[in-house]
Symmetry: C2
Subunit: 418 residues, 2 copies
């Protein structure tokens, strides 16, 4: 079979399985998730064996240590995947939920009811745990899923997919609801994004090049999980201790995350008191600070920031720092250089906080809290398939509800339209 035919057939099978997975009772779905969790642990030797094949190939290809780390599955990580599935099993089932109900003057009873999207195509890079996380969320929300992980994780992903399919089969559900693209051939992506007849939504998670490629080639609607150039603005009335804690947490707690802090904006009136100590603490934590001239006058060891720094997502222990004359300048800076991801204001002044929260339409805007809270788990969605930077459908963290849409269900008694 040609690769084109193979990809088409795989998507078609997912489509055919979709109506069945959409109507699975909650109990059956949870049983499948829990049994998959148990199977992951029971079959961990097998998983580690397949993962070792991927790691050997990675070492032959001289992948970076960071990539190798992301690719690695061990007992601890397998236990975490299993735990993730158990948590998703414990979440409420969004399918069938009545979101809103009302009655029309002519007696029609109207309800908006949650239904699954159908078939979701997931494209991601090296981390094989995404295979389990994404499949778990899609199944719980009644969707079929086509998984296209990084070619470097192929052996791991194929086995993980098989483990879920086994659990589906065991419970009398159609295993075709979970499909893993089992070829490293990069051409497969080209065929995948043309399957608009069978796939309802593509979710790419990865770097800017992948996002641009998807935008250019996909015939299927795309919800991007793109970069986060996240800001913290420290107002003149800020609690400087809180501001320092929030900046430090945003930058160093997990610098590789898309909700990590990238640019710190400081009101000029606050700069003299706030910046020297804050920068020292950041530097002590291993952060390279790049600043404008005013920042460099106030602290030592600060490199000169260039125009490019203001729009860079470092994903690393590097922080751009800029002074601004007022709130208005901070807002305009974020509108110009930001990526609509996550922005925090630190202030005691409620009017200025409201202005910031109202004017900036990033997916998550915060007042006196770390940017690292832009996360489905942290914000209370239970779990997340990622953080959407597309305004359409779901903007910000996407949990189970965001993997559904609604239909209108109307009950009448013979009404016709006049």
């Amino acid at each position: 079979m040609s690769l084109a035919k193979k990809i088409e057939s795989l998507c078609k099978r997912a489509r055919e399985a979709a109506p069945f997975v959409a109507k699975l009772p909650t109990g059956t779905k949870n049983k499948i998730l829990l049994e998959t969790a148990d199977a992951l642990v029971a079959r961990q030797a097998e998983i580690i064996k397949e993962n070792t094949k991927d790691l050997k190939a990675a070492s032959a290809k001289k992948l970076s240590p960071a990539m190798v780390d992301r690719l690695t599955l061990n007992e601890k990580r397998i236990a975490e995947m299993a735990q993730g599935l158990r948590e998703v099993a414990a979440l409420p089932d969004p399918v069938g939920e009545t979101v809103k109900a009302w009655t029309r003057p002519n007696g029609l009873e109207v309800r908006r009811v949650r239904i699954p999207l159908g078939v979701i195509g997931m494209v991601y890079e090296s981390r094989p745990n995404v295979t389990i996380d994404a499949a778990g969320l899609c199944l719980k929300s009644g969707n079929a899923i086509v998984l296209r992980g990084g070619s470097e994780a192929l052996h791991s992903n194929v086995l993980l997919g098989k483990i879920i399919r086994d659990a589906l089969k065991k419970n009398g559900a159609n295993p075709d609801a979970v499909q893993v693209v089992d070829t490293p051939d990069r051409e497969a992506m080209k065929f995948l994004v043309k399957q608009s007849r069978y796939v309802d939504l593509m979710i790419p998670r990865g770097g800017g090049a992948l996002m641009e490629w998807m935008e250019e080639h996909s015939k299927i609607p795309v919800i991007k999980h793109d970069k986060g150039v996240c800001h913290v603005y420290v107002d003149e009335s800020a609690d400087f201790d809180a501001a320092e804690r929030i900046a430090l947490n945003g930058k160093v707690q997990r610098p590789s995350a898309c909700n990590a802090l990238e640019t710190l904006l400081v009101n000029e009136k606050a700069a003299k008191d706030f910046l020297p100590r804050a920068i020292r603490r950041l530097q002590d934590a291993g952060v390279e600070v790049r600043g404008d001239d005013k920042v460099r006058k106030l602290a030592s060891g600060v490199k000169k920031a260039t125009e490019k720094d203001w729009s860079t997502e470092y994903l690393d222990l590097i922080l751009a720092v800029k002074t601004v004359p007022d709130l208005e300048a901070a807002i305009r800076h974020i509108q110009k250089y930001g990526s609509l991801h996550t922005e925090t204001i630190v202030t005691r002044d409620e009017a200025r906080a409201r202005e910031f929260l109202n004017r900036l339409d990033s997916s998550v805007v915060l007042w006196n809290a770390s940017t690292r809270f832009n996360d489905g788990g942290q914000l209370g969605l239970g779990a997340e398939i990622g953080i959407s930077t597309t305004k359409l459908h779901a903007f910000g963290p996407m949990g189970l509800e965001e993997l559904t849409t609604t239909k209108f269900v109307v009950k009448g008694s013979g009404q016709i339209r006049e």
Copy 2:
């Protein structure tokens, strides 16, 4: 300026105006809508003059009478456009609405707040009233809009756009929030759908060829307003009077609408009692009936339906009629040939109704009511920009709320992530 540059610049201006229109107070938006309504009536001679230019060109091009009718603006239609704007002004403003609010265990107060999508690109065919309807809904929901109507309506659309822009200007709002693509050049569309930097969403309304073209070429997310192959299923326990009324209303009240009935499915056990009289009434109303062999045995003047009829959206006084052995066969027929638009079951049996409403994931599913109720106004959304056949973001009629997205607004007291 090249056409490519011209379209880019027009989209860029809409983008720049978007943050301002997003934050306009409700009162100002309503004032702009009401003043536009007044101006439409006050300037109707001017509108009719521009429309006459379009009509002359249409007559030279020998457009069909139906197209000429859709293109025509007269006093009555201008009054209807004005009335539409007044109704939108009277609707609640969705922008800034808190959709949901909760508090996390760590004290973070989280709200999901409605915000506009940004810039909406609207592509439509001959009817110039869409220019006013779409612009009104987009402005009320805080969005900027780029309008690309049919080239045959260009003179009318340019003037209508100007009238809204005048009202924006008069109220101190940025008139660039409303852009009309003022060239009949078909190449303009190609450039328009590449402006993903400036435009957040494309809404095409039109035929299948336009939908396919958009899917193929757009780099911007698309919400399609595609065809409706709508079904009514008459169960054996149906109230046959209601079933007849619902079938007749679905087919003849406005056959050119996407929610008009196209295929009538009848349970075999109901066929003998129901079909002869129902078909006679449909034929008396001028409907051409095409049926399977069983249908043709029960009624005279019925043409033989072919496989193609089951998936055809006639948009005309033609109806396909088929007998089915049971509910399951009806559901499978709709899943195979339908377009996920609108389906009705007529029955007195609640269990069968629930099965139908639950199993079919069309955008609107009805029990004992006409398919013609799949409409924003009829279902209580106030007004609609169209009926989405894309499951993403909005499925079914799209009103003001569906032209917004949500952001997360988080209030903390110095929280950081552990």
